[in-house]
């Protein structure tokens, strides 16, 4: 075994969920009949009139992969009679797709595993893409796991980076809570499947002059074929108040704030900046802030323009969820806290003391600017 492979082996054995190339007994050669699989696909997720932004982020990544491979990019649109799939297709072209596969059926109104798995599996078997990407959302992960098992192919979850190595997809993802990264490949099976979290990739530039073609396919299922019934959908009432993943500015509370009451200092700064409030795992576990505000490996991935971390130590599990932020500011009493290793600006000091003063400084500064505008 090469020296380079050793850490991989150790990690693979430790994970029990991964393994290393080159051990005997498995094929790493692509069988002849799978060489016909061509092109990069993105499953386009939509809900109540909007495409999930992660699908466009993936479209940008798909475009880059396809250009390296010299192949085309296709979007997959599945939905019911009420879904404006054709207008989503136009958007898909603007974000980089060359073609859209469109499947419309009454049983595809609202996501359910069974009909979507059959539809996507049929599309893949008929049109044979080499790469299939989905968002790592509750829908994407539910669907990807089912489709990959049905097709008997490899699926890499929650990737943070997608690349081409040789002619194969090299999908990089954090492992062990972000302590290590591993690059995973599917060599002898097609399609190569991967999911990517919202906000991991940047939004591609929109070009409305681009166009493409539509290929339609029928699902071939009727409602009575489907066991699971969607009885109701209860939209989140706070949907518009917590949109952490797509916030421009986030102020995050860490354990260093000492108690739930001190979190109001974070809320106050967030209010002045028009920002969202984030939290570390320790803070949500202590019940100081809601679980949906958690940033990190087991929470949300964010990439705001400004990320202010107050009393956050910067553990790797937190770091992987926010390190793509444009500007990271840390306030922590410990000058050796890991957060100062990857923040851009820092204040070594007590967050409870610094936050009110920083809030006042921003308030004064921004008020002046806003008055000028008015």
């Amino acid at each position: 075994m090469s020296e380079a492979a050793k850490p991989a082996m150790a990690a693979a054995a430790a994970a029990g969920a991964a393994k290393t190339a080159g051990r005997s007994g498995r094929s790493t050669e692509l069988p002849e009949h799978l060489k016909a699989y061509k092109g990069v696909w993105v499953f386009i997720e939509h809900d109540r009139g909007h495409v999930h932004t992660v699908s466009w982020e993936l479209m940008g990544e798909a475009r880059k992969l396809a250009d390296k491979l010299g192949v085309s990019v296709s979007g997959v649109l599945m939905g019911g009679p009420a879904d404006p799939l054709e207008s989503y297709a136009q958007e898909a072209y603007a974000y980089g797709a060359d073609r859209c596969y469109l499947m419309r059926d009454p049983v595809l109104q609202g996501y359910r595993n069974e009909p979507f798995t059959k539809g996507l599996t049929d599309l893949v078997n008929t049109h044979q893409p080499e790469i299939l990407l989905l968002g790592a959302t509750t829908m994407g992960r539910d669907l990807a796991g089912s489709v990959a098992t049905t097709l008997g192919t490899g699926l890499t979850a929650d990737c943070t980076e997608l690349n081409i190595d040789g002619r194969a997809l090299a999908a990089t993802r954090p492992t062990f809570g972000g302590s290590l990264l591993c690059t995973i490949m599917t060599l002898a099976y097609r399609p190569q499947m991967a999911t990517m979290r919202p906000r991991t990739a940047a939004m591609p530039r929109r070009d409305d002059s681009r166009s493409g073609d539509i290929v339609t396919m029928a699902l071939g299922m009727v409602e009575t074929d489907i066991v699971t019934k969607l009885l109701d959908f209860i939209p989140d009432t706070n949907r518009n108040t917590v949109n952490l993943a797509y916030a421009d500015i986030i102020v995050t509370a860490g354990k260093g704030l000492k108690n739930a009451d001190n979190c109001k200092l974070v809320w106050e700064l967030a209010r002045v900046l028009g920002a969202e409030v984030g939290a570390t795992r320790a803070v949500t576990q202590a019940g100081w802030l809601d679980a949906e505000r958690q940033v990190g490996q087991t929470g949300k991935t964010v990439r705001p323009k400004l990320y202010i971390a107050a009393g956050v130590s910067g553990a790797i599990q937190h770091r992987v969820g926010m390190e793509a932020s444009d500007v990271i500011v840390a306030i922590n009493t410990d000058p050796n806290a890991p957060i100062f290793d990857f923040a851009h600006h820092g204040i070594v000091g007590n967050a409870m003391q610094v936050l009110p003063v920083l809030t006042q400084a921003f308030r004064t500064h921004l008020d002046k600017r806003i008055k000028k505008v008015a």
């Binding site: 991964a18 996501y111 954090p174 492992t175 809570g177 690059t183 949907r239 421009d248 028009g274 920083l358």
Partner: protein, 283 residues
């Protein structure tokens, strides 16, 4: 009612450190625990057992020492435990793992038909959330992922209603038994182990199944051979080349200046941020 709960023994990821030179995981002294997400699945299963009677079988694939994780589950009230352990399973990715677990669940079903299978939404070491859907597909069970609440179970009518967490809302779904549920975190609180169950956990035999015991028919579908994905590289996250530019607050005297200074630096580092913030606040 017969419920199978699939669990995994995992290293406590919060305590994992990476060796700075070799980039390998330092496992010494890192405790092995029941995957925390699986405990929500176990508690949901135990509540159904409290309500309907029957049994809860916990199932785990892993090395022999994973027996400890299964005993932990018995101490919470699981009826019995099966450890699927065989060197032939080593190196399995999620596809191969779902094949082995599905075979074992089929085997368990031969003793007593299985009504429901529960898993956690994902593990804390792999974080893939792929094994649950994989097992459901292989067993042709109705799949319900990210379940936040079990609304109703009609055992005689073989129907089940759940709330499922979706993007931007909750789906109310009805399906038929047998079904596989992956349970969302924070949806219940694990009960305290009773003295009786703790004693039982110590005595109760954990059945150990080899690949043959588990009814694995096709050995090309398990372990490394049955795994389409290949780890080609493992590496440490890149450190930022520069540490943060820090200012230190001493005894409160300098706080105001330090904050003003920071504000200027932020707006200088990101030239469009100030205008965008003003625009957003004015809107």
């Amino acid at each position: 009612m017969h419920i199978v709960v699939c669990i995994k023994q995992v290293p406590d990821s919060a305590q994992i450190r990476v060796h700075p030179v070799t980039n390998t995981i330092m496992r010494q002294g890192v405790p092995a625990i029941v995957n925390p997400y699986d405990l929500f699945a176990l508690e949901a299963a135990l509540r159904l057992k409290d309500q309907f009677g029957g049994r809860v079988t916990v199932l785990c694939m892993g090395p022999p020492q994973a027996e400890d994780a299964l005993r932990k589950c018995i101490s919470f009230g699981a009826t019995d435990a099966i450890l699927v352990t065989d060197r032939a399973f080593a190196g399995a990715d999620t596809l191969a793992t779902s094949y082995a677990l599905a075979a074992a669940i089929r085997k368990i079903g031969q003793e007593q038909a299985v009504d429901l299978v529960f898993t956690g939404k994902q593990t804390i070491d792999g974080d893939t959330a792929q094994v649950g859907p994989g097992v459901a597909k292989r067993l042709e069970m109705n799949l319900l992922t990210y379940v936040s609440r079990i609304v109703d179970v009609d055992l005689d009518g073989r129907r089940l209603q759940v709330e499922r967490r979706a993007e931007g809302g909750v789906q109310l779904l009805e399906t038929a038994l047998p079904a596989l549920i992956t349970m969302l975190e924070g949806t219940n609180e694990m009960r305290f182990a009773t003295m009786d169950d703790m004693l039982r956990a110590g005595r109760c035999p954990v059945r150990k199944w080899s690949k043959d015991d588990a009814g694995v028919e096709d050995i090309t579908k398990i372990g490394l051979k049955g795994s389409p994905t290949i780890v080609s590289k493992v590496f440490a996250p890149k450190a930022r080349s520069q540490r943060a530019e820090t200012q230190t607050v001493d005894d409160g005297a300098g706080v105001h200046d330090v904050c003003l200074n920071l504000l200027q630096k932020i707006f200088t580092t990101h030239p469009t941020l100030e205008q965008e913030t003003v625009d957003r606040l004015s809107a």
